[in-house]
Amino acid sequence: MSTEALPRHRQLGLTDWEAEQIPGLLGREPTDPELVMFSLMWSEHCSYKHSKPLLGAFPTEGPHILQGPGENAGAIDVGDGMAVAFKIESHNHPSAVEPFEGAATGVGGIVRDIIAMGARPIALLDSLRFGELTSAKSRFLFRRAVAGIGHYGNCIGVPTVGGEVGFDDCYEDSCLVNAMCIGVLPHDGILRAAAKGVGNRLVLFGNKTGRDGIGGASVLASAELSDDEDKRPSVQVSDPFTERKLMDCCADLAERGLFVALQDLGAAGLTSAASEMASKGGLGLRIDLDRVPLRETVMLPAEILVSESQERMLAVVTPGDVDAVIAICRDRFDLDATDIGEVTDGDRLVAIADGEVVVDIPAQYLADDAPVYEVPQNPAPAPVPLDLAGVPEPTDLAAAWLALLAKPTIASKRWVYEQYDCLVGADTIRRPGGDAAVVRLPGTNRAIAVTTDCAERHCQLDPRAGGAAAVFEAARNVACTGARPAAITNCLNFPNPEKGHTGWRLAQAIAGMSDACRALGTPVVSGNVSLYNESATRIIFPTPVVGMVGLLEDAARSVGHAFSQEGDLALLVGSGAPRLDGSEYLGRAEGYPTPPDADIEVALCRFLADAADEGLLVSAHDIAAGGLAIALAESAIGGALGVTAETAAGDRTDVALFGECGGRAIISCRPGDDGRLRELARELPVACLGVVGGDTIALQVGQTRVSIPVAAAANAYERAIPEALA
């Protein structure tokens, strides 16, 4: 299909109806640069036109919330006048086109969102989904995306402390690459994007502007990934070295109080940055395109306006400070910095090229007035419980246990996180490999616990319960380190919302996440939406990734997931009815997964944090994918220590071992501390599993005894991914 045949607005991705609105708004035909700007700002990626109406359901307020959704990132109070800003973002489509650069620039983008808040980035996480590792294409995408994330995070000196990776054939054609960044800042240091002060200057600094990703990320992320060349952006090449200079430079300028407002340049480049700064500030901006430093000798006004060249920031500064700002950028940080225009009275975004006005439109038409679509709400059939008769019980349970440990989605992700610098800054107290990571807030004894989680199969089968389950799992992971869940960010990775049940699933997942956030008192402070993750043959599961931040008053009280002392007691805290439905063990999106019980989840999180406060927990590990048997094995492998445990048999041993449900964690404590732990647990069930020690993991389930050597378990768990890639 050649695009020459298509009318201009269609080439740009606007529907006929959308294109018709523009003259109505402007009272005239748009200029070509204006049409290009509309097409990008009205794309799904920039305008959220299919998801906006649904996102309103999220709870976003709380006493500790300093900044909710709407700015570059959200921010929460962490005490002592300090705040933590965080956000998660997707770079799925660019990563599918060029996994190394796509994933790398994804990290760069989210880091600039945090910088734009005036914060210093202190941690990164990455949430990844690929097809099965039996596919050469998926092995390639996985290898290169991880390399790209490592390359960028390592070079900018922000520790990548956690994340997740899942593998399922539904991601074969639409891999997911989400990155989360967390930064620290003083309360009074929060910067906002709103332009202020008529007559103030606009300073563009960082990399030069080239033809990167023209009509790229935004258009690409707004329709199903097609192979026609013309949809392909000119790929953005990551430049982490410049990003690091940008980080240091912004920190320096913020410290000197030289920013009136700050905004990063992401999708739709200057167009998006400028129109958002203008409309948020209720003012106009006048940009002189001839002043923008270019990498190419010639670029059209439209190209300059929508270029997605990376590592650029746009600041509003007072006329008196312009020279100082530019001098600091150039002399101290070897960064290009240019005065490209000014804040004006009124509401218009004006762009000038060789003396001519090429753009003159009210900024909010671009930033706020994109058409909004109600996505169809076609409920999917209610989940049907799995018929266990169709799932033969394994004759060799030990073999099944080892096989499950070696499933890439469950197996150790060491191959991934050893490629990431998780230590730079020397404040990483709990490294990747456990539940949540724990990072000390620089210069204090406080710490944050951070994790990303999702329950995509659960969301496919029962989106409302699945959405809640994702939030509760994140909370459990945070609480297992002794932290108290504080707030979440989220990335809604979904297929085409205009088709099938997707729109309904999106709404349901949001409702479920909201239920859980209310129950836990963890509002949503930021997020991102990635739709159209499907191909002609494969449609991804609804994948709402939750990024949670929790707080620890005393970093020294954090808890790890590994057993660590012979003779300790292993206890099972919480309760739930494990099912094979939709489980990793079953390996299919089939059945009716146990819906989460909010009361138990909340009580469990409170208990874990209270117990950690009293220093009673030697280890804590939540029971998630793979059920009790996998969680027990992970605590044993982590500490190279066995355990002898006993648990009641359900109807079937495999269900008791590998069945999944929320609301449960395995803790270990010194003998004698269990009494106090039971007091702290109040109504929450606490069952003694057994005793830590020896070199086998032995589990008595009713009459059946299953056991595997710790060494064999570690071998299966650690080797799976390297061998799948070999």
Binding site: G210, D212, S234, V237, D239
Partner: protein, 78 residues
């Protein structure tokens, strides 16, 4: 007998070349004022057997050596 084939891979002219940019900056700091643009790519020297070494080299570029999205390349029989 082996033929020597040389593949040169350069960043596409329109794509950013952070390496060339950093090296240019460094050389200017060292006082090389007459220096203009710097671009840095790879030189891959292949010893190839068989009757169509150049064809083979092109195939290798397509399969592995070159990322056409961000790189251009040339093949020369040494």
């Amino acid at each position: 007998m082996m033929t020597r084939v040389v593949v040169t891979v350069m960043p596409r002219t329109e794509t950013l070349d952070p390496q060339g940019q950093a090296v240019a900056g460094a050389l200017h700091q060292l006082g090389f004022d007459d220096l203009g643009d710097v671009r840095i790519g790879k030189r891959i020297v292949l010893d190839i057997d068989g009757d169509d070494p150049v064809g083979q080299a092109h195939a290798m570029c397509d399969r592995l050596l070159v990322n056409r999205l961000i790189e251009d390349y040339e093949v020369d029989a040494g």
